[in-house]
């Protein structure tokens, strides 16, 4: 975990291995099979890092030889919420670590008339207000749709500090916007990019994540 300028932002350790993985998924010549495989590896790391943010409590267990061990156990329940469509690519990474995790879905799209993000659909676990929520969306650009998703979660009674937003790539503009509006939402990201271009794309970025993961 690398330090950032924001207390709520956690970035993966910037090792050569990680930067090598990003070189592969940013490369426009990378085939879809490799793109999927290597993004999945990064997602797994993000999920592990997100899980590390959860509280634990002391517990005592007995080993097969009858020795008592002072260990730790997870405290609190979690669930995933993915923003359709790109966010769904991160569900498998979450399931790899938490097999029977409940997963909610939110569809947010740009309204053609207002050019603003608009909520079209949400389906969330009933007891979501009691859970830690892993909000899944691979790219944090302006943060518009993710902040709208957070708004949906807050209205359902989820506490701000219990929301962890997992993304592969974040723009400083998006992080700044999030910090101003929801300073207690934790952001777990792989790499913080240079910024946004005039079309609000992350630069240098990796293209349209959903397209590269699902279509092209």
């Amino acid at each position: 975990m690398s330090a950032t300028n924001y207390p709520n932002v956690f970035m993966l350790r910037q090792t050569n291995q990680l930067l090598g993985l990003y070189t592969i998924i940013r490369d426009r010549n990378t085939k879809r099979g490799d793109f999927v495989f290597y993004s999945d590896r990064i997602m797994r790391l993000l999920v592990e890092e997100g899980l590390n943010q959860l509280p634990v409590k002391p517990t005592t267990v007995k080993t097969s030889q009858g020795h008592e061990v002072e260990g730790f156990s997870f405290e609190g329940k979690i669930c995933g919420v993915s923003i359709i469509r790109a966010g769904e690519s991160m569900e498998q990474g979450l399931r790899d670590c938490c097999r029977s995790v409940r997963i909610g879905k939110i569809l947010i799209q740009r309204d053609e008339e207002t050019a603003q993000p608009k909520l079209f659909y949400s389906k969330l676990p009933d007891d979501i207000s009691e859970r830690y929520v892993f909000l899944l969306d691979p790219m944090l650009a302006t943060g518009g749709s993710a902040m709208m998703a957070v708004d949906v979660l807050l209205k359902k009674g989820v506490k701000q500090e219990r929301i962890l937003f997992l993304n592969l790539l974040a723009a400083p503009e998006g992080i700044e916007a999030f910090y101003k509006k929801y300073p207690n939402v934790k952001i777990i990201t792989g790499v913080i990019d240079q910024g946004l271009d005039e079309n609000k794309f992350v630069v240098p970025g990796l293209g349209d994540f959903g397209d590269r993961y699902y279509c092209i």
């Binding site: 050569n16 070189t23 943010q53 240098p204």
Partner: protein, 484 residues
């Protein structure tokens, strides 16, 4: 008879703490670094000679079977005949070439092969075809022999060869019986006709036997009349050899123990990379230690920790700037594009390293995998190499050696030595373990200063989980595979 099993008592022998403070341990001279000397650089060599048809081969086989050591190699002088010239070849086809004279044998090649084995290097043994009187294309690769039986008519003839032998046996059988056996064997096994065999006997075999073979019996430590029928003499030989081998394993164990005591903390321990002690690692380890955990859960959570360990191990791979320009889909040029400079292969220690296979396959699906089976002797606890298969490696290849649980470190040390003997560079070896005893880690790093060790929990980390006596008992592969 000695037996081996996977679950080793080495814990008892090598982790005996009282030994660490015992006064009979000598500090090595300052400036010299302790070295690991594997048992195969000092193989025990037994020579078995005798006249043709005397039963040498049976005696050699009997000895091998009775001492029951892994990596016992029988070197038959029959495979070391010189390659014949075309003229000699014609003579040989008519049974006129003298195969029984010392000049027909390639002693130099034999000495070279044994020399390779004594320095711990793999060697290629020739395979001789008696039907065509030539060396066949194929060779037998031998490595890691701890016992070598040199068997042949003239095994006790050559002075340099005699100097290498620890025990020399001459099998003395009546010449008439020898001839009868030889006729039978050459007709059935080597496809010769009776006339040729008898001619050869009179022309070459008998004169050479009298001139060279029988006189060489004076070089023997022991002359064995009546070959394998002679149970008492055979038992005596085997008992003697077993005694010698026990001495050898005591020396080996002693050296392994010594490696655990020399401390050089600062520089040594910097080669260990610990998994950060995160909430995840603490909770997963608690689940893995808990006897109430089902096997399904155990496998699931072990795979999770294995995934983290492998990721940490792969941080050891060297990267460099990308040779080609990397463009993103929006045609931005990446300034920090880097690519891996090293390929990665893995070698698992059967069976405790195999628990990483599921996870490595998910990280590098097409990774090449080698295997090492090193078991500890049930009685002495001495580690012994049983089998090895190694993937092809380039000079720069990073090699991950999987050993989920390091207790004494003895098996890992032997494993590393095997890799070094096969040309892997010490600095490219990364050992991946989940649990490790402090003494075992120290022992490995004392023997090999340039390997890197990735560790999940170790008895030296000082948290509540790391005090656990579970460190002393092998259990990971038992639970993971569901069989002890």
């Amino acid at each position: 008879m000695k037996q081996s099993r996977l679950k080793s008592p080495e814990t008892i022998l090598l982790n005996n703490n009282s030994f660490c403070t015992s006064s009979n341990f000598k500090e090595p001279a300052s400036g010299t670094h302790p070295q690991y000397i594997p048992p195969w650089t000092e193989p025990y060599i037994i020579g078995v000679a005798g006249t043709s048809g005397s039963g040498k081969t049976s005696v050699a086989k009997h000895i091998v079977k009775a001492i029951n050591q892994p990596w016992t190699v029988v070197l038959s002088l029959d495979n070391f005949y010189k390659v014949l010239t075309p003229e000699q070849h014609v003579l040989a086809e008519h049974a006129l070439y003298d195969l029984d004279s010392p000049t027909a044998l390639d002693f130099d090649l034999m000495l070279r092969c044994i020399g390779d084995l004594k320095t711990g290097k793999p060697t290629q043994l020739p395979v001789y075809d008696f039907c065509t009187h030539s060396r066949t294309e194929k060779t037998t690769t031998i490595y890691g022999a701890s016992v070598i039986v040199v068997e042949g008519l003239l095994a006790l003839h050559h002075r340099q060869l005699l100097d290498l032998m620890d025990t020399k046996v001459f099998v003395d059988t009546d010449l008439d019986i020898c001839m009868a056996r030889r006729v039978k064997r050459d007709m059935i096994e080597r496809g010769r006709d009776l006339k040729g065999i008898l001619d050869q006997w009179d022309r070459h075999v008998k004169p050479n036997t009298i001139q060279y073979v029988i006189p060489s019996s004076k070089n023997a430590d022991l002359i064995l009349p009546r070959s394998t029928d002679n149970k008492i003499a055979l038992d005596m030989i085997i008992r003697h050899i077993n005694n010698q081998l026990e001495q050898k394993s005591l020396v080996h164990l002693q050296r392994l123990q010594e490696l655990g005591q020399i401390t050089n903390e600062g520089t040594l321990m910097s080669r260990i990379v610990y998994l950060p002690l995160t909430n995840q690692l603490k909770c997963i380890s608690t689940i893995l230690f808990d006897r109430e955990t089902s096997r399904t859960e155990f496998i699931f959570y072990f795979d999770r920790v294995a995934n983290m360990l492998i990721h940490l191990a792969l941080d050891q791979v060297e990267f460099g700037p990308s040779q080609d320009q990397v463009l993103t889909p929006q045609y931005y040029c990446l300034t920090d594009a880097i690519r891996s400079l090293q390929s990665v292969v893995v070698v698992t220690m059967v069976r405790t390293g195999d628990v990483f296979m599921n996870s490595i396959r998910k990280t590098i699906p097409d990774v090449k995998v080698g295997k090492l089976l090193i078991q500890s002797d049930l009685i002495t606890g001495e580690p012994q190499l049983h089998t090895k298969s190694l993937p092809p490696c380039e000079r720069t290849t990073k090699l991950l050696l999987f050993d989920a649980h390091i207790i004494s470190g003895a098996a890992a040390i032997m494993g590393i030595q095997v890799l070094l003997d096969h040309g892997i560079e010490e600095g490219n070896i990364v050992i991946v373990s989940y649990l490790a005893e402090e003494a075992g880690l120290r022992r490995i790093l004392n023997a090999f200063q340039n390997v890197t060790i990735i560790v999940g929990l170790s008895s030296g980390r000082g948290d509540s989980l790391s005090k656990e006596p579970m460190f002393r008992t092998r259990f990971i592969d038992d639970y993971y595979f569901g069989s002890t």
